[in-house]
């Protein structure tokens, strides 16, 4: 690990003065950044520890929920309002990592964790366009079981590993970002960039900016929502496929629906096409499958994960069928 200076800014404004400098990195729980520093992938010269800034979780005047960026993942999942009104978010967070890591990880840090694969972390033996732009990608023809089938490029096929982010994408979460110019708001579905030919650039956050909070708008589907994660072992593993979904049915037809996928794309993947297919239709198995097909029509499975489109279709259909219940 390279020498690094550690600072603990007392306010968001003080954090901003630190983040603009070259080599500076914001530090949340450190569960991803400290690991990558030890592996020599990340080499910051300054760590601005923002994990002591706002961790407030409170209802907004408009009927939504505001979550401070420094709130711990475990605190969000255990919060009574999240458990009661946003079950897909509580369940998604609880599906991620381990209890120890959820106690450490912040909400802002979870979104800022690197979009990555095993080749990215293998500094000794693997080529990676994300770690070393232009060097090539060993995952394309390598072990790519866990990699992306949607939104990837010929330069990078890594997935964003967050479970929490998948639920936030489905919930239309808005990310509030502070800079010296004030606050700007970015929808979570647009926060993570697709890799294109610059897989080293992962998010919309610019140097000199800080995520201060995540806002969940009021939602007609959040209360009847779920998150299901399919993985190689029952717990403490990254998703092969995950599905966050919320459903509102009225008079036998889908009145509103939100769907997002994890484990299949370089960002939490909001299934806008699938949602469009379902609106106004009776919530039947056939409709769910047709919606999944619409979302997957551009999918590009790899040598090691040709099973993924089918797994997405089945998982999505199962989750929505369960949510539809007797309305089906």
């Amino acid at each position: 690990m390279n020498p690094v200076e550690y600072r603990r800014p007392a306010t968001a404004d003080e954090a901003l003065t630190l983040t603009g400098s070259a080599g500076a990195r914001l530090l949340g729980g450190g569960t991803n950044l400290v690991d990558l520093m030890r592996k020599g992938v990340e080499r910051p010269s300054l760590l601005a520890d923002v994990s002591g800034l706002s961790s407030l979780i409170e209802p907004t005047e408009g009927g939504g929920l505001m979550i401070g960026a420094a709130a711990r993942n475990s605190a969000v999942a255990a919060h009574p309002l999240v458990r009661a009104h946003y079950p897909m978010l509580a369940r998604a967070i609880l599906a991620g990592a381990s209890a120890q890591i959820r106690n450490m990880a912040t909400v802002g840090g979870n979104l800022m964790q690197r979009t990555r694969c095993l080749y990215f972390a293998d500094t000794a033996g693997s080529r990676c366009n994300k770690r070393s732009p232009g060097s090539g990608c060993d995952a394309l023809e390598g072990f790519n079981r866990y990699h992306a089938i949607l939104g990837a490029s010929g330069d990078c096929i890594a997935v964003h590993p967050s479970d929490m982010g998948v639920a936030l994408a489905a919930l239309d979460a808005q990310i509030r970002i502070l800079s010296t110019g004030g606050i700007r708001v970015v929808p979570l579905t647009e926060f993570h960039r697709l890799p294109g030919d610059r897989p080293d650039l992962e998010t919309a956050l610019e140097p000199g900016e800080l995520i201060v909070s995540i806002e969940l708008p009021p939602s007609s589907v959040a209360a009847r929502s779920a998150y299901r994660k399919v993985r190689d072992r029952a717990s403490y593993a990254f998703a092969l496929v995950s599905v966050a979904a919320g459903l509102a049915v009225r008079d036998g037809r889908v009145e509103d629906v939100r769907i997002a996928f994890g484990g299949v794309a370089p960002r939490p993947w909001r299934a806008f096409r699938a949602e469009a297919v379902l609106l106004g239709r009776p919530p039947t198995t056939e409709a769910f499958e047709e919606a999944a097909e619409a979302e997957l029509q551009d999918a590009t499975p790899l040598s090691g994960n040709s099973f993924k489109p089918n797994l997405v279709r089945r998982t999505m259909t199962a989750v929505l069928s369960e949510l539809a219940g007797d309305d089906r």
Binding site: M1, N2, P3, V4, E5, Y6, R8, L27, G29, G30, T31, V34, D35, M37, R38, K39, L47, D49, S51, S74, A77, A78, P80, R83, A84, P87, A90, R91, L94, A95, A97, S98, A99, Q100, I101, N103, M104, K229, A234, S235, Y236
Partner: protein
């Protein structure tokens, strides 16, 4: 500021690269906390910070300046065994013992989380105030601690015993 480790104050290291794990083992010579993978995958380095379980390998010592750390050496009173330590012996909750300090620290915090009503991924009713502590719940909640010897069944038995003692 200082780091309070098992009740004793220790100065945070000058070098920000020092992990909490290395501080504990190499500088304070509390070697009960173990180095397993050193990359957040195994749970052998689990300690409590302000009562919550964390991975000391992925925590920089500087991050816990001003906070309170409890390791396996500080879990019990004086020479007595902590109830979880006794229960792990009763139920053969280990073979080689390398993962055991992390398992026991994690279990201690896990029982507190359950007592506070925190749900897990397998909890059917997320809004329930009291979560029934089944084997399935324990396995899910302890999934961050791996045991290469395969003593997981004994570990679950040991935790169930302590939970039952506390409920009695």
């Amino acid at each position: 500021m200082a780091i309070r480790i098992n009740g004793a104050e220790v100065e945070a290291p000058e070098d920000a690269r020092v992990s909490l794990l290395d501080l504990l083992r190499e500088r304070v010579h509390l070697t009960g906390t173990k180095v397993g993978c050193n990359q957040g995958a195994c749970g052998a380095c689990t300690v409590l910070v302000d009562g919550e379980r964390v991975l000391s390998c992925l925590t920089l010592a500087a991050q816990v300046d001003g906070r309170s750390v409890t390791t396996i050496e500080g879990l019990a009173e004086a020479e007595a065994l902590h109830p979880l330590q006794a229960a792990f012996i009763d139920h053969d909750g280990f073979q080689c013992g390398y993962c055991t300090p992390g398992q026991i620290c994690a279990a201690a915090a896990m029982l507190a989380e359950v007592a506070a009503g925190a749900p897990s991924y397998v909890t059917a009713d997320l809004t329930a105030e009291r979560v029934p502590l089944t084997r399935e719940e324990i396995r899910e909640r302890m999934s961050g601690n791996l045991c290469r010897c395969g003593a997981h069944n004994g570990i679950v038995d040991a935790i169930l015993q302590v939970a039952a003692e506390r409920a009695a």
